[in-house]
Amino acid sequence: MESSIATEQALRIALWVGAIGLLLTLLAISAVLLLRWQTLRQQRRRTAFRQRWQPVLAMTTMVPVAAMPVLKRSEVEFLLLEWLEWRRTVRGDAADRLAKLLDQLALDGYLLAWLNRDRRHQVLALLVLGLYRLVSAMASVQALAMASDPLLSTLAARAWWQGEGSRIAFPLAALMARRLDWPLARTMQLAQEGGEPLRAALLHVLPDAGSAERLRILRLLEPHRQGLFLPHIAQWLAVSQPIEVRTQVLRLLERPADLPWLRQALQDADWQLRVVALQQLERLGTAEDVPALIAALHDPVWWVRYRAAQALLRAPSFGVAACAALTATLDDRYGRDMLRQVLADREAGL
């Protein structure tokens, strides 16, 4: 009797769960159909919008445009997306005219309001504001640059820089060093765009930075390495420093005056340092370095031998013929094989 009641109960539960499952399935299918309808509607609206506004935007890049179609409230997002596409491809007067177009349409209010809306609107507003350089928005943009969301704060930092320029080089450099969660590629792009003022600011914050921040700053200096004078090199290359810091410092050395550091690194116990030293010597080395490069062909690590062979092949004072001759005389099999490989690579057009 009890078993029969329990079976009925189990069946009832199964029936209910099944019914709920079917109901949710129907809801999901309805949602699919609704989404499809909305997407089609949105596409049609966007196409119609483009037909009206693309000629205006194209014309604006050439001459100021006075008469414009009516911009509906629901079309502001479309316009900003299109504007962004155009603005990314133009410079100079055309860029100014595109900015004036936003003035004419009085979209400042929207952009400011969007900085406080959901993430999608914030992202779009920040991308536009950076290129539009709306002064009244910079305080809000600065606040967003401190936000915890890495992508949002990186975009805000870029917009802040685009709006304020070198005036904010020092606080921005400090922020870039501190925010280890910021995407490295985007942050490097910002460092690159920041030019000389940001380079100076990054070098300024380098000595006082903690070890993780130090590595970050050294990486951010990479786009600026040409002619870079890096202070305290001995300190950064000390064995006590993490290997990432030491290799990164070597990568930044570009001046002939830095050659002694590279030569010294070639003797280091860490193979990663030796590899980077060889990469740098390939570009900066002189005839004086050839014996050290030949010695590196006997290194126990494959990558060191590979880099040494590459450096010898490309060294103006050594080159292909000398490498071929060396292949015949070299006693060490590993070094010989490596030279043969890079010579064959070269012949194959690599």
Binding site: T7, V17, G18, A19, T39, D337
Partner: protein, 481 residues
């Protein structure tokens, strides 16, 4: 305990199991929806300038090949046309018995180069390394047969760049595949691997190795797999990725940080599910070593693959997948509920163990007990029917969720008739195909238990698109070495 009482207990167990698995999947669905919304928001910030500002890491594309004579040239040509600032393609000929190497040598003017070779991972001997005289970024490694994992390890040894992308020789990529899959590496500093969405190419128009137009497959078997792939990738992997608990990156297309893979020991030789095993091991060891890391998933469709259209090949594939799953989980049991296991160890691993690994056994046992009890008169027909309907309705719900996520993310089946076919397929898939699949998976589980030898996964493919008009019809391969 009486038979009746045992049956009641069994019914409750089935109910609890069905509810648990479906609630689990629906929660994953929710996580996937949240992640999708976020990635959609981020799309506006994806600037092409970032990709071409020397800020993206170069990538080595590794293409392991075994008896791929018929399709390898078209595949490599399409890979060489990928839109990415700096990459190399390394084809690893894993001791093919057909003319794969000769075909490549003729098509790309290969020339042997001396084999000074880094061996961070131990592999079967490399015979010769070839360099293309036409494409400076194409190399071919000819090695003794050692299986797919061994071939990939040889490719990792030869790779010059810090990231490598394992690609199946028969994968159809999009020109922007590498651009899309590299994004997590640009946005998050601790990403060690990223997987992408793989879609079914049957029915699509492919020209010169690239996808030109999308359509639903004509074969119902392939259509069922479309729904399966939507479920597996869109809420399965995307959901787990949101929780940093993704245990699988498809071997068809995945991007890895080379030094991390070498550090964890590379791909396991002789393992059938080498792609999953590597990811599970990465979770286990990186957590054990307290290395901060993320394994990400890119929802954009970036890789298309041909699905089997005959039952024998499909069965072979599913059996292998199930064996691979079993191997991957049992080889890394140390991750299960490890104090440092986090989401992978405490949520994803037990979930896979219970619902993916043991799932077929429990499902088949459930069906069998219900049918036997009905046959013996212990259970009424309405009772059996109720449980079958329950299973059907929950299956439909999961399939519908997959289609919903597809619609929310990157809908590729844009025409109304395509959507109608998908919805119909969703219904039909639950009437036989899913049950058949469960039986195959159970067979895979049994084969794993008997420890049969691992082999390269050969598939009977049509691959009409892979051939140039002038080339002869490819010999079909359906045997393994």
């Amino acid at each position: 305990m009486s038979t009746q009482a045992w049956l009641v207990g069994f019914q409750y167990a089935v109910l609890i199991y069905l509810c648990a698995i479906n609630v689990g999947y629906l929660l994953l669905n929710l996580a996937a929806v949240i992640r999708l919304r976020r990635s959609k928001q981020d799309q506006a910030s994806n600037e092409p300038s970032l990709l071409y500002a020397d800020l993206v890491p170069p990538i080595s594309v590794l293409v392991p090949a075994y008896n791929e004579q018929a399709t390898i040239v078209a595949s490599v040509r399409s890979m060489l046309q990928l839109d990415y600032p700096q990459f190399e393609v390394i084809v690893i000929n894993d001791g093919s018995r057909d003319d794969t190497l000769q075909t490549l040598a003729e098509a790309f003017r290969l020339r042997a180069v001396p084999g000074a070779y880094a061996t961070a991972l131990v592999t079967e001997p490399v015979r010769t390394v070839y360099q293309s005289l036409q494409h400076s970024n194409l190399r071919v490694i000819d090695k003794a047969n050692g299986g797919k994992a061994d071939a990939l390890n040889a490719g990792i040894n030869a790779a010059l760049y810090p990231l490598f992308c394992g690609v199946d020789a028969d994968s159809i990529l999009q020109r922007d595949s590498l651009q899309n899959i590299v994004r997590p590496f640009l946005d998050l500093p601790d990403v060690v691997a990223a997987g992408g969405t793989v879609r079914i190419a049957n029915g699509c128009v492919v020209k010169d190795g690239f996808l030109k137009a999308v359509d639903v497959p004509r074969s119902w078997l392939a259509r069922f797999q479309v729904i399966e792939y939507l479920r597996a990738f869109l809420f399965g992997r995307l959901g787990w990725s949101a929780l940093n608990g993704m245990l699988i990156i498809s071997g068809a297309f995945g991007l890895f940080r080379k030094d991390t893979v070498i550090r964890v020991g590379g791909y396991t030789r002789g393992c059938i599910g080498e792609d999953m095993e590597l990811v599970v091991r990465m979770h286990r060891l990186l957590r054990l070593w307290r290395v901060p890391y993320r394994i990400e998933f890119v929802a954009d469709p970036i890789c298309w693959t041909e699905a089997p259209e005959d039952l024998a090949t499909l069965k072979n594939q599913r059996v292998r997948w199930q064996r691979g799953l079993a191997e991957s989980l049992t080889a890394n049991l140390g991750l299960l509920c490890h104090p440092r296991g986090g989401v992978p160890g405490w949520v994803a691993f037990p979930f896979f163990l219970l619902f993916e690994w043991l799932g077929p056994l429990l499902e088949v046992a459930g069906f069998a007990v219900f049918l036997m009890a009905w046959a013996a008169g212990l259970l009424s027909a309405p009772a059996v029917l109720t449980f079958l309907l329950l299973s059907l309705s929950l299956g439909l719900l999961l399939s519908a969720s997959g289609i919903l996520l597809e619609e929310m993310s990157f809908p590729v089946y844009g025409k109304p008739h395509q959507l109608a076919i998908l919805l119909l397929t969703m219904l039909l898939e639950n009437l036989g195909y899913r049950q058949l699949n469960t039986l195959w998976r159970l067979w895979g589980l049994m084969l794993w238990a008997t420890r049969s030898q691992a082999r390269w996964g050969a598939m009977r493919r049509h691959g009409h698109w892979q051939q140039s008009p002038a080339s002869p019809a490819p010999p079909q391969k359906d045997t393994t070495p």
